[in-house]
Amino acid sequence: MLAGRSRLALTVGAALLLLLPFAVDLLLGRGWVRITDFALLYIMLALGLNIVVGYAGLLDLGYIAFFAVGAYTYALLGSPQFGLHWPVWLVLPLGASLSCLFGVLLGAPTLRLRGDYLAIVTLGFGEIIRIFLNNLNGPVNITNGPQGISRIDPVAVGGFSLGTTQHLGGLELPSVHLYYYLFLGCTLLVILVSLRLEKSRIGRAWMAIREDEVAAEAMGINTRNIKLLAFAMGATFGGLSGGLFAGFQGFVSPESFGLMESIMILCMVVLGGMGNIGGVVLGGVLLVLLPEAFRHGAGPVQQMLLGRIIIDPESLRMLLFGLALILVMLVRPAGLWPSVRRQRELTADDGAAQQEQDTVYDASR
């Protein structure tokens, strides 16, 4: 009975996800399909960061660097920059693997650091990568510096390119729709891997390290390897997402990989609910869609209420965004959709004194 119902829910959910780009296109316009695609990319990033921050409890403020590594790998191997046009099935895994390597490179020297110190080092790492990309146009031009790399090959397998409108059995599928399905597939894959990891032995080891590293080590957990694995896994997801971004956007430049982006992804994780996959997905969706909605909505609303535009919608957008963040943290400190554990931690506290009494009573019997 329950199995039947959950199967029905799954079918309806799948149908909705498949129809979503058409519905968005029809109701809000093609621009919003593009925004939806970006939301999926950010969900992948947030899920990757969730492994590092949410599961293993390692605060990483330079996460966008892995996104950059994936994106530039794709851009350099699939654009006129070097005249290379490697196939996607090679470039995407390569970018993800290279990101993984960078994850280990970042992880190795920071193993002894925790909390604030780790945050500072990772922040520096993120900036180093961005500055490198910005300056690697001389003496040998590799990244084209601040101008970035343009005319990147779209994602294409065989002769089937996602960069142009395709017709499948009478159905017209514009490029943004095609990318939507690709990103959806990748996001589902990332979700699946996250779910499996969470329930695995490795997942439990991450949580133990997050709770108490010394005790985790005393349990026989090889904390060094397990922490490196968290960095590597998170970075891999970031790299995959970065490669997809480069193919989708057709253009990359260092300014897409600034500190603000790292903070934004961290906000998705924290706001949605650290350690909870559903919460992280929700955080990703909201933090991509809401600022866009503000951007599009703030002007007309002012026009309607006040008769003219007093505050520039662009600055109002960040203001409202900040306000929303503060509000959520005040009202729901564990995130909009917290993991059961975090919720417990932040709510249950008053019972302990009574329990101590009970235990003392028990011991005296």
Partner: protein, 237 residues
Amino acid sequence: MSPLLEVHNLKVAYGGIQAVKGIDFTIGAGELVTLIGCNGAGKTTILKALAGLLPVVAGRVAYRSENLQQCPPHELVRRGLALVPEGRGVFARLTVAENLQMGAYVRNDREGIARDLQMIYELFPRLAERRAQPAGTLSGGEQQMVAMGRALMSRPQLLMLDEPSMGLAPLLVARIFATIREISARGVSILLVEQNAALALEVAQRGYVLESGLITMTGSGSDLLGSEEVRRAYLGG
């Protein structure tokens, strides 16, 4: 027969200060041995060094006649050494059951783990009642039980307890010590580090008195309990 653990001329530095200045002690198989001493005498430092959490400056630690140096902490658990850290170190957001299961991290025998879990619940009925509760919401005494149960889940041959009485109500301390005695009776060797000298010497077969990083006295538990010096220095009278 050689003892289970043999420590020879152990020196450990802690934050630039030489906290343990060359000590010798042994623990036989199945023995309950206690290290007593004041705050700062070096008790916890010794345990941390034995558990591989602090580097050893000099000396030799032999466990079952094998040299333990350069053995990473996570390997020690596999060899049968388990530490219950000072301040308990339970995984606050994990439930009691999850905490206990984490103790069996190095083991793969599902049935054995399930049996041992049952055994822990029999040893600490409190924990059975609270198995689904996050460990961080338990009282201090219950958390100590979780920490001890968790260490036992790795099926140690040598259990190292760091100040199990710390911060507990007297009745709970008595309860915890009764359990320590029971664990010992089951054949697990125990190294007990305590500030509560009277209680520790009462349950231990042998004891070592530690003062500023050196062992100043040793003897059977009852001998030390009866000793004039120990009385004056640690038992308040």
